[in-house]
Subunit: 425 residues, 2 copies
C-alpha cells in the first residue's frame, strides 16, 4: 500500500492502466445505481406499513375530542404534540405539529421573516441585503431556500464539534445584516458530526448585532442513531432561555425518516411566545394540517419511548450499509493518501473528501459508469465547493448488493481521478 504521492510516473502509469481496465469493465456492465439523496430503503419503509392500516373507520377522535376528519386544530392534535414535546424535552405549547414536509416549514418561516419581519419587527427585505451563515459542507436544500429569497450565504467551516464557533460569534456580533444560520446539530448533513455541548452552549450565548437574528436548528436526525446509543445534545431552547435569548431559535424536526417520507408528520418548536406568533400566522395561512395522519402516527407510535425503540429497527437495517461504506473505503482507499471520509454514528450520509479539485471529476466518472451521486459542490452554498473535494455519499436506499457495486465503482473512480492528478502534476 503505497501513497500515490510517493509513486513515480511509471508506477502511476501502470496503476492508471489497471484502473482504466477496471473502469472500462464497469462502464460496459451498464449499471444504474443511485446514491444521490438521503432516501429510506424499502425495508425501512416496511417497518411502518401498519401505520397505513392502524386506524379503524370509527377511530377519528383525538384525545381532546377533536374530530380529526373535520376542520379545526391548527397546531396539531394533543397526542402528537405530546410525542414531539417529549422527544424534544419541551412543553406542548412550545411545539406545533404540521404536515408532511419540514422543509416547507423552514421555507415558510424564512418567507415570513423576509416579508413581515421577525415577531412583527421590520421585514428583513426592507433592511438591505440579508445574509445567512451556512456551515459547510451542509444541506443543499437549506441553501436553495436562501437562493430563493436572494439571501447571501457565508460559508462557515465545519469541524469535529460543529461549525467554527469563533467565526460564527465574530460574524454574528459584527454584522446586523446576518439574520440567520442553518444548523443540523445532530448527525449533520453530510458530515454526520454531532455538535458538542460546548458548541450548543455557544450558540445559545450568541450576542447578535441583529436583534432579529435567528438560528434555524434543523434537527432532522434527532432520533437517527446507528449504534444503539441515543446520542443526546443539549436542549437549545432551554439554553437560549437561560442565556437571555429566549426567542432566538427555531427548531425543526420530522418523522420523514421515522415513518414515511411520503406521508409524514413534522414539527416546529420554539419559545411559547414565538409559537404564539406562528399560530397567529397559521390562521391566515391554512385551514390546518392533515389531522387523521397525525392520529395515525399517534396510534402507531403511542409515545416518545416507542419512537426511540422504533428507530432501533431503522438502525439495524442501516448499520450494515454504513459498515459496508466504511469497510470498502478503508480497504480500497485507506493509506493511499488520496481521500478522507467520516464514520458517522447516525444520520443518513457519509461525507467524503477527495484530493483538491477532483470531486467534479469523480462524480462525472461515476456517472459514466452508471452510479449517480449528489452533484459535486451541492454541499456548499451556490454549489461552490472552493476546493472541489467534497462528495456526499448517501448509502441508505440501495440494497446491500447494489450499494457494494456502487462503492466499488466509486473507489475505482476516486483512484483513477487521483492517479490522473498525480500524472498531470
Amino acid at each position: 500500500m503505497k501513497q500515490y504521492s510517493q509513486m513515480n510516473k511509471d508506477e502511476l502509469n501502470a496503476l492508471k492502466g489497471e484502473l482504466d481496465g477496471a473502469f472500462a469493465k464497469y462502464k460496459e456492465a451498464g449499471r444504474k445505481l443511485n446514491m444521490t439523496r438521503g432516501v429510506p430503503s424499502d425495508e425501512q419503509l416496511a417497518l411502518c406499513n401498519e401505520l397505513i392500516t392502524c386506524l379503524s373507520g370509527e377511530d377519528y377522535k383525538a384525545a381532546n375530542g377533536t374530530d380529526c376528519r373535520n376542520y379545526g386544530g391548527l397546531d396539531g392534535i394533543p397526542e402528537m404534540k405530546k410525542i414531539f414535546a417529549d422527544l424534544l424535552e419541551l412543553t406542548t405549547d412550545e411545539v406545533i405539529v404540521c404536515g408532511n414536509s419540514s422543509l416547507a416549514l423552514m421555507f415558510d418561516n424564512v418567507s415570513v421573516n423576509v416579508s413581515h419581519g421577525v415577531r412583527d419587527g421590520k421585514p428583513w427585505q426592507s433592511q438591505g441585503q440579508v445574509k445567512f451563515l451556512c456551515p459547510s459542507p451542509g444541506y443543499d436544500r437549506h441553501f436553495t431556500i436562501c437562493n430563493y429569497f436572494h439571501i447571501d450565504m457565508i460559508p462557515i467551516p465545519m469541524g469535529e464539534d460543529g461549525p467554527d464557533m469563533n467565526e460564527v460569534e465574530r460574524l454574528v456580533a459584527s454584522d446586523p445584516m446576518i439574520k440567520g444560520i442553518w444548523c443540523v446539530p445532530k448527525f449533520s448533513n453530510p458530515t454526520g458530526i454531532v455538535y458538542s455541548e460546548e458548541t450548543v452552549k455557544r450558540f445559545a450565548k450568541l450576542k447578535p448585532a441583529a436583534e432579529d437574528f435567528r438560528i434555524y436548528w434543523d434537527n432532522a436526525y434527532a432520533f437517527h442513531d446507528l449504534d444503539g446509543k441515543q446520542t443526546s445534545i443539549p436542549n437549545i431552547i432551554r439554553l437560549c432561555e437561560e442565556y437571555g435569548n429566549p426567542n432566538m431559535v427555531y427548531v425543526f424536526t420530522s418523522f420523514s425518516k421515522v415513518s414515511f417520507a411520503g406521508a409524514s408528520v413534522t414539527c416546529m418548536a420554539s419559545s411559547k411566545s414565538n409559537c404564539d406568533y406562528i399560530r397567529k400566522r397559521l390562521t391566515a395561512q391554512t385551514i390546518g394540517p392533515d389531522k387523521l395522519n397525525q392520529l395515525r402516527h399517534a396510534r402507531f407510535f403511542k409515545d416518545a419511548k416507542n419512537v426511540m425503540a422504533h428507530m432501533e429497527k431503522h438502525a439495524e437495517i442501516l448499520r450494515p450499509k454504513f459498515k459496508l461504506v466504511s469497510d470498502t473505503l478503508n480497504r480500497e482507499l485507506g493509506g493511499l493518501g488520496i481521500a478522507q471520509w467520516t464514520e458517522p454514528k447516525g444520520g443518513y450520509f457519509v461525507s467524503f473528501d477527495s484530493l483538491k479539485g477532483l470531486a467534479k471529476r469523480i462524480v462525472a466518472l461515476c456517472a459514466e459508469a452508471g452510479v449517480a451521486l449528489t452533484p459535486a459542490g451541492a454541499t456548499y452554498p451556490n454549489g461552490n465547493d472552493p476546493d472541489d473535494k467534497n462528495i456526499r455519499i448517501a448509502p441508505t436506499c440501495p440494497p446491500l448488493g447494489e450499494l457494494k457495486d456502487a462503492l466499488d465503482i466509486f473507489c475505482v473512480a476516486v483512484k483513477l481521478a487521483s492517479a490522473e492528478k498525480f500524472l498531470a502534476s
Copy 2:
C-alpha cells in the same frame, strides 16, 4: 302579515313586547348553537369513513410505480391528477395536486407573487401599493390573505350573475396596481350565486392594465350542487386561452367538503406554463405532499364520475337543512319587509340581508341567546359592511333539531332588531 314599515308606534310596541318575551325565554334556555362556519356535519363525514381504511398495508404504489411512502412526486400522483383534471375538464399537466388546505395554496400563490413577481416578473411589493378587487359579500379568508400581505381591497358589488363586470372591467383596465381579484364562481360564498356564462366570458376577456394581473378562481364548491343537477360553468382556463389571456387565471379547488375537511387533497390548476413555474418553486419549497392520502382518495373515489355520484350523497344530507332555512325564513320573515335572503342551489351558505344597520345588532342578540354566527361584516373587506346588513348563515353542521332552534332564535332576533329600528325612527 303587516310590513313593519306600515305599523304605528302602538303596534310596534306591542310587537316588541311579544318579541322581548320570546327572546327572554330563549336566553333563559341557555342554548349553545353554532352557525359560524361552513363545516360538514358528522353525517357527511361518515360518508367517507371507508377512506380511512381503504388502503391495505401492501397498497402504496401509484400507477406510475411511485412508492407513495417515500420521497418524490412534487405535483401529485397520476391517479389524483387524472381525477382533478377530469373534474375540471383539463389535462393532467394543467393541475397540481397538493395537501390538505387549498387556502394554503392561495396564500402561497399570493405570497410568491408579492415577493417574487408573477412568472419571474417584477415583484408586486416593489411596484407600489397593490390592490385586489373583492366581490362582496365574499369569503372572509380571502380578505384575510389580502390583509396579511398589506394588499388594499376594493369591494365590488355582487349581483345575480356574479360580480358587477362593468366595474371589474373598468377598474382592471384603468389601474395597473390592481393585481388580482378573488372569485368563488360557483355557489359563491356567501351568496350562493353561480357566475353566468356571460360573466365567466367577460372575466376571460379582461384587458388588464397590469400584465401581471391574476384572477384567483376559488372553485371551492365546484361539485357541491344541492338539487341533483350538476350546474356547470364555462371552463375559465380554456376561455382565457381562447381570448389571448392564457396565463391570467389560477384555479383552486378542494376535496375538503368532498371527503374530510381535516384530511383532504386539494388542487391548483392553471395553464401548463404557469404550472411549470409553480412546479419549479415547489422544488425549493417542499419535499412534497402526502402521497398516501392522495392514493387513499384515488382508491376510494376511483374516478371523476364517482366523485360526482358521491356528492349526491352530501346533497341528500344538506337539502333538508337548506330547506329548513328557506322555510323558516319565509314563514317567519316573509312579507315583513325587514329582510332578504338567498335560496342557493348549492354550496354551504345562505346570505342574509337585514335592514340597513342591523347586522351587528342581530348577531349580538343571537350571541346573547346562545347562537354563534359569523361576525357581522366578515363578508366584506376589513370586516366593513358599509350597510351593516349582511349576515352569513352556515346551516350545514348542526343537526336538524339544533338548526331549527338556531333559526327560530335568529328570526326572533331579526324581528326584534327591526322593531327596535322602527321604534327609534
